[in-house]
């Protein structure tokens, strides 16, 4: 029963990835019109157009182009960037670890903070502390990421002068220097991601708290603290794992903004540069990496919530 559901989710994940690749391909290769026309511009003659199409295989039907594109993607041949002519895989290779490292650090910092704060707020509902956390997190999720980054720059870089506002990574700094330079982008992302996670953790615990067996525990006089830690938390773990995976997925959009503001040499910055110069092969590759990661994380969230549900683990 459970195995079947997990496999089913994985199947849905693969189908989603497939549909995503179709959407990306459609939007970047078919909908903009004739690529040969765009590349060669006004001065193109019918002969040069035909030659360009033949050279790049554009004269083949769309579905053939799609499958050859998909095959190239799957085997790691991501094509050549329009700007500079470097292979896209080499461009991505030099950037992707920066992004992975930053996302990993953010997850490492924000997950414990959010679960603790969420629990804390759920333990004292209706108090000033809870209201403060609720209002603070609501405000944080209501504003754009760049707002938080701008305020942090204003406070920590301009007024207090503690941290640099742009990072000029030289590659030769000690890890302490490196951490100081990275502090501001990390802080921005931690704030953005934590706010979501705190809200969802709090809501998850409060949701469990309204179930009958908790009422029973309250009626038999178990202290509130013990109820939350012994009774509610166990049943909220599933939703919380779900929340964590979902929020790591939200990191994807946070990273785009933060890497641009602080000019961090990550994958997202590469993609934005690609969008600005309309370097479509580069955008395709980056989009597939980001969307693939996103779909994968959502899939993990889905499977985690199935695995943590005892009713599915021990079918009758």
């Amino acid at each position: 029963m459970m195995m079947r559901m997990v496999l089913q989710r994985m199947g849905i994940g693969i189908v989603t990835l497939f549909v995503v690749s179709v959407i990306v391909f459609l939007m970047t290769s078919i909908l903009p019109g004739d690529v040969a026309n765009i590349v060669l511009g006004q001065s193109a003659t019918p002969e040069t157009l035909a030659a360009y199409r033949a050279e790049h295989g554009l004269d083949r039907p769309a579905y053939v182009r799609y499958f050859s594109w998909l095959g190239d993607m799957a085997t790691g041949d991501l094509g050549v960037s329009k700007a500079g002519g470097a292979t896209i895989s080499s461009l991505i290779d030099s950037r992707i670890w920066n992004t992975v490292m930053m996302a990993g650090l953010v997850a490492l910092i924000s997950i414990p903070i959010s679960i603790l704060l969420g629990l804390w707020a759920a333990m004292h509902p209706g108090t000033w502390l809870d209201r403060g956390v609720t209002f603070g997190t609501l405000s944080t999720i209501s504003v754009p990421e760049f707002f938080i980054a701008t305020i942090l720059v204003l406070v920590f870089a301009v007024q207090l002068k503690w941290l640099p506002s742009t990072l000029n990574l030289t590659g030769s700094e000690t890890w302490l220097e490196w951490l100081r330079k990275l502090a501001m982008p990390l802080l921005t992302l931690v704030i953005v991601v934590s706010a979501q996670m705190i809200r969802m953790t709090r809501a998850g615990i409060l949701n469990v708290m309204s179930s009958p067996y908790i009422e029973m525990a309250i009626l038999k006089g178990v202290p509130r603290r013990r109820i939350i830690l012994r009774h509610a938390l166990h049943n909220a773990i599933g939703p919380i794992v779900n929340v964590i995976a979902l929020n790591l997925a939200y990191l994807v959009s946070g990273v785009v903004i933060v890497e641009t503001i602080f000019s961090y040499p990550g994958l997202a910055k590469l993609m934005i540069d690609g969008v600005q110069t309309r370097d479509l092969p580069l955008v395709q590759a980056c989009a597939m990496i980001f969307c693939g990661t996103y779909v994968l994380l959502i899939l993990i969230a889905d499977i985690a919530s199935i695995l943590s549900n005892p009713r599915l683990r021990h079918p009758k």
């Binding site: 989603t16 549909v19 995503v20 959407i23 990306v24 939007m27 970047t28 909908l31 903009p32 609501l138 405000s139 999720i141 209501s142 504003v143 754009p144 990421e145 760049f146 707002f147 701008t150 305020i151 720059v153 204003l154 870089a157 301009v158 007024q159 506002s165 809200r199 809501a203 997925a249 939200y250 994807v252 959009s253 785009v256 903004i257 641009t260 503001i261 993609m271 934005i272 690609g274 969008v275 600005q276 309309r278 370097d279 479509l280 955008v283 989009a287 980001f290 969307c291 996103y294 779909v295 959502i298």
Partner: protein, 328 residues
């Protein structure tokens, strides 16, 4: 057959005869207007936070309509004394919030920006609703293959981060205001579709809809008088949330330099343009100070989006469910 029956109006007669008593009876009769069949009367009571937030939203909405006429300067006039200058005045007028990176009046640009930022977001949200509700109700009513097809495509779009789709669309089509509106409209139509479809399916099987069917009411009457009044409140709060998402989406794209293009004033691009001023403003004596030209548009976005979220939170807290959480 020209016989005419002239009867005095009964209420007039009665009211003339026994005014006081009759009024009481009429007042009692009014209570029966609240029969299960009658359209539900919604009373919106907001807490003081909600009222304050509504004032903020109303303030920006007024600026969306008349901002350009109220602004002391034109959004593109570079008539300040210098770029990133603190508040000052010269022969062209007063610059209450100082000037931006090209020496334009920050206050005027924030006022013009309301129209671009909120206006585009509103248009996109309307488009998202038009698409989402039409397709959602179509899917709920028709079911079968139509439902399956629309739902699968919808799920795939929903499974992607909005900003990624936005970036792909702009890479493919370039950035212009119609492209922005269409992109945001389509991306956010997916969540509206899900809600509209679920609500439609939910309400169509309710007893009061069946009762209306049994009474012999037509489909339009049912949609107008039974389905819409019950779907209106959840949809209205969802509209607020969706509007916030669209504002964030569009201003993030503008901030990246991929949304509303300069020299048009848009809050997201204004933050980006003026970031350098945070450490490079000048005061009247020419000393280097902080220029808040990037902070004002950022605060404008924040005040608008936070205010809408507070109202939505307030409404859903009062209507008994944590609607906001369910829909995010």
């Amino acid at each position: 057959m020209t016989e005419q029956i002239v009867t005095p109006s009964p209420t007039q007669n009665a009211a003339a005869a026994q005014p006081k008593q009759e009024e009481d009876v009429l007042a009692k009769l009014d209570d029966f207007a609240e029969l299960p069949d009658a359209a539900p009367k919604r009373k919106l009571r907001l807490s003081w936070v909600g009222k304050l937030a509504s004032l903020v939203v109303a303030f920006w909405m007024v600026l969306v309509v008349i901002g350009p006429w109220l602004a002391p300067h034109h959004e593109m006039d570079m008539d300040g004394d210098d770029s990133f200058m603190v508040a000052h005045s010269n022969e062209y007028g007063t610059f209450h919030l100082g000037t931006d990176y090209l020496g334009r009046d920050t206050l005027s640009r924030v006022m013009y920006g309301a129209r671009n930022t909120i206006g585009i977001a509103l248009l996109s949200t309307f488009l998202a609703y038009l698409l989402g509700i039409t397709l959602g109700i179509l899917a709920a009513v028709k079911g079968g293959w139509i439902d399956m097809g629309i739902s699968r495509v919808n799920d795939a779009i929903l499974a992607l981060p909005a900003i990624m789709l936005g970036l792909i669309a702009i890479a493919a089509f370039g950035s212009s205001i119609p492209i922005l509106i269409a992109t945001a409209g389509i991306i956010y139509a997916t969540s509206v579709f899900r809600i509209a479809r679920a609500l439609g399916q939910d309400i169509m099987v309710q007893d009061f809809v069946e009762a209306a069917h049994a009474r012999g009411e037509g489909i339009w009457y049912i949609i107008k008088s039974e389905v819409l009044p019950n779907a209106a409140m959840p949809l209205a709060t969802d509209f607020g949330l969706r509007l916030v998402f669209v504002v964030l989406f569009i201003s993030s794209l503008s901030f990246l330099g991929l949304g509303v293009q300069p020299p048009a004033s848009d809050w997201g691009s204004m933050v980006r343009e003026n970031l350098a001023g945070l450490s490079g403003g000048i005061d009247l004596e020419g000393n280097t100070v902080i220029s808040y030209a990037a902070i004002w548009p950022a605060l404008a976005i924040a005040s608008f989006t936070i205010a809408i979220n507070l109202i939505v939170d307030d409404i859903s807290a009062r209507s008994g469910g944590s609607l906001a959480q369910k829909m995010i």
